[in-house]
């Protein structure tokens, strides 16, 4: 007999979180992490108690987007995420010294389960999950343990991204995960069919990375803020 005890407490850790938003995107470089971080910052700015969990272990980047420096989780009956720009923030980079984390799929899954089991989020209105890219055992585990997660899908106007997105939506439907909507990032033209919101290509976005206050003033964040109502995130 070998029982992994950690899954038994994950529901307990998330029980005081009102809504879990899984920001997903199955293609790399489409702006999933910037969308997840911006969403967390916008919700916190509106006064919601908000958490952000960077689950993209191989390509963790939320700490760069938020400008995280010299912070580390507190320890009290588990790990307590530090607060950054009003957002409780957890990431594997706290434990990797920003070095590469060369993990195989099962190891990623194990590390995610570990952090889900030991992180004490406390009371939150929203927990935003920056999901692992694609669909693999780690992503499936997150959907398994965060059963109440609502999916916010990010894509770009590319037909390739759109095709991958369509497949992901079919899978989320089969997993019975509610989909809040589809956000088309780097949009140039008119809104594409099936999308809930479009985030215009913003040349000023790159310069704002690492500075939450500046990020909130970008056209990207303004577009995302304008989409919160249609995405039922208000």
């Amino acid at each position: 007999m070998k029982i992994d005890p950690r899954p038994s407490v994950i529901e307990e850790r998330l029980k005081n979180v009102k809504r879990i938003i899984a920001v997903t995107g199955w293609k790399g470089g489409i702006g999933k992490s910037v969308t997840a971080c911006s969403l967390a910052l916008l919700l916190a700015k509106k006064g919601y108690r908000t958490g952000l969990f960077d689950l993209d272990f191989a390509g963790a980047s939320d700490h760069i987007i938020l400008g995280s420096k010299n912070i580390f989780p507190g320890e009290k009956k588990g790990l307590e995420p530090p607060v950054l720009a009003g957002v409780k923030f957890m990431s594997v980079v706290f434990f990797s010294e920003n070095k590469a984390v060369p993990l195989r799929g099962a190891n990623v899954s194990d590390a995610i389960i570990e952090l889900l089991a030991i992180t004490q989020w406390g009371e939150l209105d929203f927990l935003v999950l920056d999901m692992p890219p694609g669909i693999n055992d780690a992503a499936l585990d997150v959907m398994r343990f965060a059963r109440r997660a609502e999916v916010l899908a990010v894509t770009t106007p590319s037909v390739i991204a759109r095709s991958v997105l369509d497949r992901s939506l079919l899978l989320y439907r089969s997993l019975k995960a509610p989909v809040l909507g589809v956000v088309v990032n780097m949009a140039r033209g008119a809104a594409s069919k099936g999308s809930s919101a479009r985030l215009r290509l913003d040349p000023g976005l790159e310069a704002a990375l690492g500075r939450p206050a500046a990020l909130l003033k970008t056209a990207f964040c303004r577009d995302l803020s304008g989409a919160l109502e249609i995405l039922k995130l208000k």
Partner: protein
């Protein structure tokens, strides 16, 4: 004190598993401590004693700690190796303590220096057996 969170998982999982096995009184559970995670046994046992009050099903349970040495198998060169002798700083050991998978960031196969190895044994905490009366 993240031992507390893991102790809570152990006691909760033991009670749930006992329920599934139709065990009415949980008498003993074997708790495996993987060497890699290096949990503090005293804190863990203290947490179990405190948490016991919240879990009536584990009121009389004896938790027996079993230490398991960490063992690794290199995926690149198939070399088998142990934790003892591998170099790591105190900070790195602390990071591995929180998330054992950080071993892949800070430890290397002593033979070929690859970080691509399997943690074959002694990763973290698990329950190896439960005993009780049905």
């Amino acid at each position: 004190m993240h031992e507390w969170a893991l102790a809570e998982s152990v006691i909760k999982a033991a009670v749930e598993h006992a329920g599934a096995e139709k065990i009415k009184t949980l008498k003993e559970a074997g708790v495996v401590f993987g060497e890699l995670q290096a949990l503090d046994k005293e804190i863990f046992i203290f947490a179990l004693e405190e948490l016991r009050k919240q879990f009536p099903g584990a009121k009389a349970c004896r938790f027996r700690i079993i230490k398991e040495p960490a063992a690794f198998l290199c995926k690149a060169c198939s070399h088998k190796f142990l934790l003892k002798g591998l170099e790591k700083t105190m900070d790195e050991a602390e990071f591995i303590h929180f998330v054992p998978e950080m071993a892949h960031t800070f430890l290397k196969c002593p033979k070929c220096k690859s970080p691509d190895f399997e943690i074959a044994a002694g990763r973290g905490v698990s329950i190896s057996y439960i005993k009780g009366a049905k």
